[in-house]
Symmetry: C2
Subunit: 303 residues, 2 copies
């Protein structure tokens, strides 16, 4: 079964409706408690240009990013580790060191840990956050503009170059090895934006998630996409790379145009929200859902 099919089967039995945003949430007094978990599977998620410290940091980042995408403030990290009995102690130390570095970067504490004997290395990380106002995928409104932080394409470009055995330029490797969660941006957006999602699986897939959850049409301007200069330079199809590149951990958000002056950080307007359904590239028709597996036999290819 594909991951999407596994999720569908599982959720149809569990029957709790709340599943399906970047993080789960429950109301507590005046606030929202946010919880997310995201499992890193060494074999499929860690190409060998990443160091064990990068993997540890990444498992913190990918969970913190889910809290940021909901407009929450991350408060704590927790994990369950599954490793083979014969794991190398030095490898274990280096993963732990990465987790420590990640938790310090985001100023959160590691509050719970568990280890288990599993035949391959899995690190199931989790983050706890607090939010005042949530940014849901389902809250995009016709009239909003669609925006994204940062520049896109480097994580996928790194995988493509790596899979071909080619050199990876330093600025590309940096982003691929050590992406950062947009925590400050998420907190600010929680006050002014309508919907948000982080780019875990690629811009095109995330835009479709917003479109479907909010029952709106999204129209993107291809020329507006903030594609990283090195991606433009080295790739024959930079737009496709930008639409497909996952684990960017940039935030996509939709916001009413009059609230844009309230945003103090850099971002790019890439399109708009309209009445209707689907995601379109202006002048080119419906946007396909592109993923990494389109380019390399790695990473999300597993899904």
């Amino acid at each position: 079964m594909k991951e999407s099919e596994i999720i569908r089967v599982f959720m149809s039995e569990i029957k709790d409706k709340i599943l399906g945003d970047d993080a789960g949430y429950i109301k507590f007094n005046e606030d929202w408690i946010l919880i997310t978990t995201d499992m890193l599977v060494w074999r499929t998620d860690i190409p060998d240009f990443m160091k064990p410290e990068d993997a540890g940091r990444k498992v913190v980042t990918m969970n913190v990013s889910d809290i940021a995408a909901m407009g929450g403030k991350p408060k704590a990290f927790f994990f369950s580790l599954g490793v083979p009995k014969d794991i190398d102690e030095n490898l274990l130390r280096r993963i732990a060191k990465g987790i420590r570095e990640g938790s310090r970067r985001y100023k959160i504490r590691v509050i719970s840990g568990d280890t288990n004997d599993v035949s391959e290395i899995v690190i199931d990380g989790g983050a706890l956050g607090i939010g005042k106002r949530l940014l849901l995928r389902s809250n995009a409104k016709p009239g909003d503009v669609v925006c994204v932080t940062g520049e896109l394409g480097r994580p996928l470009l790194a995988l493509i170059l790596w899979s071909k055995g080619e050199d990876i330029p330093r600025e590309v490797l940096e982003k691929a090895r050590d992406p950062q969660a947009r925590v400050e941006e998420g907190k600010i957006l929680s006050e002014v934006a309508n919907a948000a999602i982080d780019i875990s699986d690629g811009l095109s897939k995330e835009l479709w998630e917003i479109s479907m959850a909010s029952s709106v049409k999204i129209v993107i301007e291809e020329d507006a996409l903030p594609i990283h200069p090195t991606v433009k330079e080295l790739s024959h199809n930079p737009t496709e790379i930008a639409l497909s590149s996952g684990e960017e951990f940039e935030l996509i958000f939709t916001i009413s145009p009059e609230n844009i002056p309230d945003i103090p950080f850099d971002f790019t307007v890439i399109g708009k929200v309209e009445k209707g359904r689907g995601v379109y590239i202006k002048g080119k028709g419906e946007m396909p859902i592109l993923g990494w597996e389109h380019f390399v036999g790695f990473g999300n290819a597993k899904r």
Copy 2:
């Protein structure tokens, strides 16, 4: 490496002191938010007398039990699932059904889920709880009595009989297949007890955890141990079984004797807390740390 060694190495790098209770916790306004995760590994944790629904229920119970042991009220369940791509859809449905049953039993919602491609089935469950006053392992005080809920020994007896290919009596199988977390007891104890821990790994190991964390001596009366009648009947060494049997999810707690009249549920006083160090059986010397691997090549034998 053994699990204890893996934990030691990992924690020495992470350097956050709070790790090491049943659940992690952070203060939030006037309350404590409690988080725990506990990974179930199918190959080592699910003997074939358990059904997939039992496994789903158990992963909820073992996490909720950690919240109960801290004196918290469980609020939500979340999970990351790792399964091989060729997993049988019916098996998946039955695990999900067990998770649904477990979350209904404890009146909590399933708020977040994630699935991944892992070469063997792992279900990393987690629970979120809220507490007013925490029951820490480190808070046992000389003068306290040591108490335990329920009757001990059945989960291990079931494994022993199963490993020998013998019939498992119904009342033994029931507890082994479907243990229950002591949620109501934990909430009441949060107001009156000093320390608590749930029995995941066996009474002897948990008593040592309290003794070490609280820097106290614990003296147990062997004759007072609430050993289940069928365990007494079928085993040559019922005390050893009771000290070793894990996944009971009963609560061990220490409490000042004057608070005992405030407890409205059944429990057994099994010993007392004194100044000093270590865990002793009265008249017999130091209590060994016994585990399942002592009896059967299964379960905690992995550690």
